[in-house]
Amino acid sequence: MTKDPFSGFPSASYPLGADPSFFDLVRATESSGPASTRAADVPVQAPRVPHGTTVLALKCAGGVVMAGDRRAVEGFTIADERIDKVFPADESSAIAIAGAAGQATEIVRLFQTELEHYEKVEGDRLSLEGKANRLAQMIRGNFPMALQGLVVVPLFAGFDERHGGGRIFRYDVTGGRWEEADYHSTGSGGIHARATLKKRWRQDLSVEDAVAVAVEALYDASQEDVATGGPIPSRNIYPSVKTITEAGVVAVPEETVRAAFERIVGA
């Protein structure tokens, strides 16, 4: 009947050494578990939430540009015109969300903690490949929720510190993970944005040009898809754009995005 000296600490069982995964820790310690892991006991069919969004990522010289529109919709109502869908995952990678907002932001928060937790426990960062795989497993954990209509399909992009250069990964609801060679876009307006990306994307675009292409693709998507918000100059709302390079994840200043938009519409 000796008291466990570590009873004050959360623990995770692991065959040997310390499990560096925060996701496993949360699952092991909270009986209720994070929402994304215990979907199966939701008895009713939840209403299908349309994933009204356009997020995209394209490779450029020295990294990746990632961008997303700012609109959130609930059915035919605009719920929010200023939400941000592109989040830094850690210092060298970012995640853009498409799908049920509540589920998606929770996965982002869990993923951010997961990466930092690994880094602290192991004293070393995960490889970009490792991060992409980990995210796939977390999306797979959300699959029962996806069957209820709460779909989460993010885009993940990062600067590969070990091999140099940017990389882009896309996901499907089952946790399938595919690496994209040049660019990708997802969400309800993703197909329209992709048409623009296909026309405009070139090998080794400069970062500035890639930002302009991203803004143009989002603008085109907003013209075709009701759930994708376009720029609203009167209220100073512009897409969120982030660059991911060796220097880290940097938000492109609003003035730059505005200038790119004004060049497109000839204002």
């Binding site: 000796t2 008291k3 466990d4 000296p5 570590f6 009873s7 004050g8 600490f9 959360p10 623990s11 995770a12 310390a18 925060f22 820790l25 949360v26 310690t29 928060r109 869990l110 903690t113 930092e116 937790h117 602290k120 426990v121 004293g123």
Partner: protein, 231 residues
């Protein structure tokens, strides 16, 4: 049913304390010193990869001396506690006090109930928005905790080291001065010349963005130690 001879509690605690003290005294020492922009942690450590000083959370750092496997165990438990707290509540709700208390509980239980006590001493520090809000906790092998200010030494030669630090310490030291002061004090009590390759140093720097913890690289340390003290 096994028969255990009666050992008076005084004797038991004395024996265990002696055992732990001896174990800790065999190892090297570590210090924490408050400087102008935060808290400096510095330890004598010949290994570049097996760290004694680590990040726990945004504003909280950890340093341990003694048996590596034991303080590493505690370090990982601390990171888990911090990350889980920050995830369940908010990032600001993770404090050095919480972590120090949990360490104190764990070490105290180990000291009284396990076969042998842990041969470790720990420091948990938290940098505040201004120097008055800094927090430094010193946790001993038996779970006793002390709240320190300005500077603190741990390890086998902590008393000598504290004496040295007391002479060199001043409020609002520049980082370079704090590093030189701490490494000189360490070298003095270890009675050997200070070698940059054997110094492990890290800071909790309040001027940094979210994650305040930063390791000082070998090159950086070499430059600091080689430079003349500023007037």
């Amino acid at each position: 049913m096994s028969f255990q001879p009666y050992v008076p509690p005084e004797q038991l605690i004395k024996d265990r304390s002696e055992f732990a003290r001896k174990g800790i005294a065999r190892g090297r020492s570590g210090v924490a010193v408050e400087y102008a922009d935060g808290i400096l942690f510095l330890a004598d450590n010949p290994s570049a990869t097996l760290h004694k000083i680590s990040e726990i959370y945004d504003r909280v750092a950890f340093a341990g001396v003694g048996k590596y496997s034991e303080f590493e165990d505690l370090r990982i438990a601390g990171v888990r506690l911090a990350d889980l707290r920050g995830y369940s509540y908010g990032r600001e709700d993770v404090t050095a006090k919480t972590i120090a208390n949990a360490y104190s509980q764990a070490l105290s239980t180990i000291f009284t109930t396990q076969m042998k006590p842990y041969e470790v001493e720990l420091l948990v520090g938290q940098v505040g928005d201004n120097p008055a809000e800094n927090e430094l906790f010193h946790i001993l092998f038996d779970g006793s905790v002390a709240d320190e200010q300005g500077f603190v030494a741990m390890g086998g030669r902590a008393d000598d080291l504290n004496e040295q630090l007391k002479n060199g310490y001043a409020e609002g030291l520049a980082l370079a001065d704090a590093v030189r002061m701490a490494s000189t004090a360490l070298a003095h009590v270890e009675e050997k010349p200070s070698e940059v390759a054997h110094i492990e140093a890290a800071v909790l720097d309040r001027t940094r963005s979210r994650r305040k913890f930063r390791r000082l690289t070998g090159g950086e340390l070499a430059t600091i130690v080689a430079a003349q003290p500023s007037a």
